[in-house]
């Protein structure tokens, strides 16, 4: 009414630009106002300082590299296994009958519940971390690939058969690309799952990693570094999600 359309658009733009500065500004003011205990709730400037120290005098880069490598190894192995087995169970009734009941039994177990057992099995080694992330990723991707294959247009499969496509070529030529849109949805969900699982894996016991450092800093009451670690984790997983969006577009170039 009173506001013109242009003005409204300008306001909307500014709301977007100011969103993050306002958040940090408000946090800074509240932390410094005396309303809260600044030791437990340090302002963002102090968090930034803690991060800077962590990067220059501490092992920030190593921590990031360790966390990333755990996510990558677990995610890639879980994704590859999930896609392959999902295509097989989606296509062949025998394999589906053999594996689906077991998978449906194991799938609902939250990966975090495995932490104690994993420590017994693998100790504090990297293998245990990879296993947990793998567990989180595998079932999600498997289900997506399984359903994706079953939803591939039946006429497309028939067309391929009439063109003399042998069964073993059906997988790379028709089933995989046909199921790809579904698989990508599963993979994207798995990106965030793998970060959840990473945190659980690192809290359970290790010697490096972002979540590990958050835990240690908390024990030393270095809340600034803990919060800094959270921001780093948030940034990394947001970036992973963004990168995945770009990757998805490349993988389904035809739509």
């Amino acid at each position: 009414m009173g506001i013109s359309k242009q003005r409204q658009q300008l306001l909307n733009r500014w709301a977007f630009i100011l969103s993050i500065p306002l958040f940090f500004g408000g946090w800074e003011i509240i932390s410094r106002s005396g309303m809260v205990n600044p030791v437990l709730f340090p302002p963002p400037t102090l968090v930034a300082l803690a991060l800077y120290k962590w990067a220059t005098q501490g092992p920030l880069l190593v921590d990031i590299a360790m966390s990333l490598s755990r996510v990558l190894v677990g995610f890639i192995s879980g994704a590859v296994a999930g896609i392959l087995i999902g295509i097989l169970t989606g296509r062949y009734q025998f394999i589906a009958n053999l594996l689906t009941p077991v998978f449906q039994l194991l799938r609902p177990i939250p990966p975090i519940a495995f932490v104690p057992i994993v420590i017994l099995w693998f100790g504090l080694s990297e293998l245990g971390k990879w296993f947990l992330v793998f567990w989180g990723v595998f079932f999600t991707v498997w289900i997506a690939a399984h359903l994706g294959v079953q939803r591939v247009d039946k006429t497309l499969i028939r067309a391929a058969q009439c063109l003399g496509t042998p069964e073993q070529k059906m997988l790379p030529e028709v089933l995989l690309p046909g199921a790809m849109p579904y698989i990508l949805v599963g993979l994207r969900t798995s990106v965030s799952i793998s970060f959840y699982t990473l945190v659980a894996a690192e809290l359970a016991g290790t010697f490096s990693g972002i979540a590990y450092r958050i835990d240690i800093a908390q024990q030393n009451l270095q809340v600034g570094q803990s919060l800094g670690g959270l921001i780093i984790l948030g940034l990394i997983s947001a970036m992973a999600d963004k990168a995945f969006g770009v990757f998805s577009k490349k993988m389904v170039w035809w739509s």
Binding site: L156, A159, A160, Q161, L163, G164, T165, W254
Partner: protein, 291 residues
Amino acid sequence: MNPEIPLSTSTSPVAQPSRQYAAPIAGQSGHIAIDQIRIAFGTGKQSFLAVENFSLEIEPGEFVCLIGPSGCGKSTVLNSIAGFITPTQGTVSVDNRQIDGPGGDRGMVFQQPSLFPWKTVLGNVAHGPLMAGKSKAVAHGIAQDFLEMVGLANFKKHYPMMLSGGMQQRVAIARALANSPQVLLMDEPFGALDAQTRFMMQENLLKLWQDLKTTVVFVTHDIDEAIFLADRVVVMSANPGRILKDISIPLPRPRAIEILLDQKFATLKKDCFDLIRQESLLAFEQQKIGT
């Protein structure tokens, strides 16, 4: 919208010398023998008899149209030649080999183009030759030839979704033919197209067929289309599906669309029409009693 390339119909149907690959299939292959088949879906009380006592012999290079009311089993018969359905009784053979599954010797064009959306137009047409073990260069050469024959060589780098429905269906025809099948099966391939595009597609198909001498089994419920295309029109009836009449179409070839105005065409059309009308009325009465 999408550019539709007009298909010239006046040019001679002789293969152009530039085409290396699109040659007529060798010898007298493409003989189809359907012997006393019976096809039932489901078992027990739910069982439904779709086709019964159906025999049909088709000579190499013949163009046969199957027509009949909706649900009479046209697609079922075609699918049994393709190998998607195994008859409960009786046999289907192509060139004296009994069919036991789908294969590259029997190409199929469906009502929907069913192109691989992740492949380019050229990639779609080259798929069959590649699967047959041809090198990429040869497969692309073949695909190029067949795309020229359907007038879409300029669109080879496009993806299917960038083409109109009629263009997609031409790609699907080129894809099926590029595999040099002995038999081309077509299930209402032009059913989803507008009348104008249909005429062009029909003329183009006849031209391709005269070049390649492939046996064609073409399902339609359009009587004009059947008579215009076919050497023989096989009229089916429903419940269960069986052959009502096998009408040969002695119209001269090459045929152009003007033949629709011919007196002989009109007589043939009336014969078919009367048959189907009687049959539809009968089916209608049966359905009334049945309920």
